[in-house]
């Protein structure tokens, strides 16, 4: 494994490569999507450290291999946090580069935006070994094509990010959660939609089928949280029995939702994104196949786990497709991951453009070949 400790050295590795490279941070997400066949591994793990933190400007920069946990510790010391609440499903070792490269976001994504909404700039090395920077450190920037967004979520297939800059926000003074009990999935999502369609700025909206609970989170100043949870609880009382959780209980609960603790992680795990109202029917349609899960993002994020076989995978994809949505195969044994569509296939016209864009970054096709789609 190659672990260059400067951007220059990393660029040199790429220029010298004479075959495919497996690109990774600490490798915590190598089970997602498709496996990469490469003789050599290039890791950003030695490119580590926070390079800029200006709390008064809501901005932080860190080298790509900086551990998320180190970033969160530094932010917490200044009373701030990552806006999109990245899941810690993959342990404490995950890097900020990996979070950006996979665009992984947690519960706050529903109203606060995803990682892709908060990436302000990146430094990266493309497949030709050129060191490039896009975006910057300011909150508003429309100068040129938004390549920083394109690299976010590109799973290391276009360029290797060496440093990322992102927007952060203060941690709210208080957090409150409205728990609605005894709801089936349809009622649950209806309650979440009512909450998200209220003036009370809900920052988390999940439904747990096993517990038959709909959960809505409010984060703000303490008096606001009190006022808004009470108003919202009164408004949603018609949906079921209501309980209000305070800050500590809320934080623990939403950490568990963020980390998918309510998912019975069996052989295969999928993440589907659909319109919120489509979530319940997907849960119901897949239950007979032994697929279980829970809903986040107001019902639109369907987290699923079930048997790792082609038939089940096809049924999951079909459910996402029928709802006009999309899917990611988050975890499965390698033989399955190698043969199935880990992401929805592309229409022909888009596939042609994608291939040209990919070649424009990585003409030799050496960065993570096959990671997203079969070559």
């Amino acid at each position: 494994m190659m672990t260059p400790d400067t951007e220059e050295a990393l660029a040199a590795v790429i220029r010298a490569a004479n075959g495919p490279l497996l690109v990774q941070g600490n490798g915590t997400k190598s089970g997602m999507l498709r496996p990469v066949q490469a003789a050599a591994t290039l890791s950003t793990s030695s490119l580590s450290g926070i390079t800029l933190y200006a709390p008064n400007e809501l901005v932080m920069s860190a080298k790509a291999g900086t551990r998320l946990s180190d970033i969160e510790t530094a932010l917490a010391a200044a009373g701030q946090q990552m806006i999109c609440e990245p899941p810690h499903i993959h342990g404490d070792n995950q890097t900020i580069g990996g979070i950006v490269a996979t665009n992984l976001s947690g519960p706050r994504r529903v109203t606060g935006g995803a990682m892709r909404d908060h990436v302000l700039g990146v430094r990266a090395v493309n497949g030709s070994g050129e060191i490039l920077k896009f975006g910057g450190r300011v909150l508003k920037n429309v100068t040129g094509l938004d390549v920083a967004k394109l690299l976010t979520g590109s799973f290391g297939t276009l360029a290797v990010m060496t440093e990322v800059t992102f927007k952060v926000l203060p941690v709210s003074e208080a957090t409150g959660t409205i728990v609605l009990r005894g709801l089936d999935a349809e009622q649950g999502v209806a309650a979440l939609s009512a909450g998200l369609g209220s003036p009370f700025f809900v920052t988390g909206a999940a439904y747990l089928p096993a517990e038959k609970q709909a959960l809505l989170r409010i984060e703000d100043f303490a008096t606001s949280v009190k006022y808004r949870t009470e108003k919202l609880a009164a408004q949603l009382g018609a949906y079921g029995a209501v309980e209000i959780l305070g800050t500590d209980d809320s934080k623990a609960l939403w950490r568990n939702i963020r980390d998918c603790k309510f998912l019975d992680i069996s052989e295969a795990v999928w993440r589907l994104s659909v319109v919120p109202s489509a979530g319940p029917a997907i849960l119901r349609a897949l239950a007979p196949l032994g697929v279980t899960g829970f809903l986040d993002w107001g019902g639109g994020l369907v987290n699923l786990a079930g048997p790792a076989d082609q038939a089940t995978h096809d049924a999951v994809c079909q459910a996402a497709r029928a709802a006009g949505g999309t899917w990611w195969l988050m975890q499965a044994p390698e033989p399955l991951r190698t043969v199935v569509d880990a992401l929805p296939p592309e229409p022909e016209a888009l596939a042609a453009i994608r291939a040209r864009v990919q070649a424009s970054f990585d003409p030799r096709g050496i960065l993570n070949p096959g990671r997203l789609r079969a070559a």
Binding site: E57, G136, V275
Partner: protein, 477 residues
């Protein structure tokens, strides 16, 4: 302004091309006579004018496809156009180009409150989306000052911002899906009605791409429920430095107001003359701060903000007591460009972004430049996110004065980059900042962007001569 040489083979065949367009479109959708073409010769950057070869006004996506196929086949350049309010010359025609105007595709196709989205055609104005959903107390968040006129297709192409983007984000943060016709006439569906797309973030790449990658034919936006209420306050300060420090203190305290706007003295005077909003004329700098929520929440938040401001010895401080008062405060701010236009009919509106802590430094150096160039400048600033709008006043009847204004503007933008910011926060590069791109990007970075453009538009027929510097073309080959 240096423009690419018009393709002589295209100019010579103008009559044939217009006839050809009429063969694939309804007669009423093709404009070919000079009198009717006149309104399309410029956009919000009115110092530049160029009559196009022809204008087409398609009424549906199939007609857009037909135009693209026709132009692609014949190697004709295309300039997409929304309302033409671009301040960077993004919609400026070329002599050998067909302008494809989207204003007739102006229907709202679908609104869904449970799933909180609206599907609209690109020619729908920004304000019309909010108007379509406000009976249900919903709104579309990004609110550029030009929102009465500008169209959602233009907003997406420019990734436009607004006064409230500190809380709600810019256009890119409020989109779910797009339909786009490529130069070859293929229809791409990007995203959908759900959040996030598997695979590359095409939505993110296309947003802000200034008509370089394709023509948008449909946009799906997120809609939000309106807050219970909103209230603005004004705080005037004795210097730009003090006002800048106060902005820092507000953000550091953990309060993110929904809007945090800054005006310097010339801007305060211009806006007050126009809006009579009660802006303090004795202040050197003014902050407009808005918060949202219930009456009690507003009161509490404003009390916290007043406490912070008080520590910076404001020369005046006033919390609006009524909806009318808040409206007047915003009328002044949103009408700021027009207000400056009343003092000086000709002005250039710049749009750089800086790290907010650099504000006092940048304003000081800008004042120095203003003295050196002998041109007045008024500053309006989205202080919360560092987006600066210097308005440089000049006299259009004096060519020298215009050239000086352009040079002054370029110096300001270079300063923005020098202090860690960028050339444009929301108005786009267009033609105006094209040749400054090399201040912010290295040749390799520009070439990477050019190669992406080429992947979508191999012959560079879409809005050419914008965004990328004309010099250095050979490097991209």
């Amino acid at each position: 302004m240096l423009q690419p040489k018009p393709k002589s083979n295209v100019l010579e065949k103008r009559a044939e091309i217009i006839a050809g367009l009429k063969a694939v479109l309804p007669e009423r959708a093709v404009i070919g006579d000079d009198v009717s073409l006149k309104p399309y010769e410029t956009d919000g950057l009115s110092a530049y004018k160029q009559m196009p070869l022809a204008v087409v006004l398609p009424e549906n996506e199939a007609q857009v496809v037909a135009v693209m196929k026709f132009c692609h086949l014949h190697g004709i350049r295309i300039i997409p156009r929304g309302a033409g309010t671009s301040l960077s010359g993004g919609a400026l025609p070329l002599a050998d180009a067909v302008v494809i105007g989207m204003m007739r595709m102006n229907k709202i196709l679908d609104v869904n409150y449970a799933d909180r989205y609206a599907v609209v055609q690109p020619g729908v104005t920004n304000i019309a989306i909010t108007q379509a959903v406000q009976d249900e107390e919903f709104f579309y968040a990004p609110d550029p000052s030009s929102q009465l006129a500008c169209m959602i297709g233009g907003n997406v192409s420019m990734n436009s911002g607004g006064a409230h983007c500190l809380k709600y984000g810019v256009t890119a943060n409020n989109l779910l899906g797009l339909r786009m016709v490529t130069i070859e006439g293929e229809v791409l569906e990007i995203g959908g009605k759900h959040m996030d797309a598997a695979g590359y973030d095409w939505l993110g790449l296309i947003t802000g791409s200034e008509g370089q990658l394709g023509v948008l034919t449909e946009v799906t936006v997120r809609i939000l429920h309106s807050p219970e209420g909103a209230r603005a306050m004004l705080a005037g300060f004795a210097s730009n430095e003090v006002a800048g420090a106060c902005v820092d203190a507000i953000i550091s305290s953990g309060i993110i107001p929904v809007a945090l706007e800054f005006m310097d003295k010339p801007a305060i005077h211009a806006c007050e003359d126009f809006a009579h909003a009660g802006y303090p004329l004795d202040a050197e700098a003014l902050l407009i701060i808005e918060v949202e929520g219930s009456e009690t929440e507003q009161t509490e938040m404003l009390a916290r903000i007043r406490d912070i401001c008080a520590a910076y010895h404001p020369v005046s401080m006033r919390v609006s007591q009524t909806a009318e008062e808040s409206a007047a405060i915003w009328k002044g701010r949103k009408g700021a460009f027009g207000a400056v236009g009343r003092i000086s009919p000709d002005y250039l509106c710049m749009d750089g972004t800086i790290p907010t802590s650099q504000l006092p430094n940048v304003l000081k150096r800008m004042q120095q430049m203003s003295d050196d160039y002998g041109l007045k400048v008024a500053n309006i600033f989205h202080a919360g996110d560092g987006n600066l709008h210097p308005l440089i006043m000049f006299d259009a009847n004096d060519v020298e004065s215009f050239h000086k204004a352009e040079a002054f503007g370029a110096d300001i933008l270079k300063l923005c980059v020098e202090v860690g910011g960028c050339l444009t926060g929301e108005h786009g590069v267009g033609i105006e900042k094209r040749d400054l791109m090399s201040v912010q990007f290295t040749p390799a970075e520009l070439d990477q962007q050019r190669r992406i453009k080429t992947a979508f538009d191999p012959d560079w027929l879409l809005n050419p001569s914008k965004v990328f510097p004309l010099s250095g073309l050979s490097a991209a080959a």
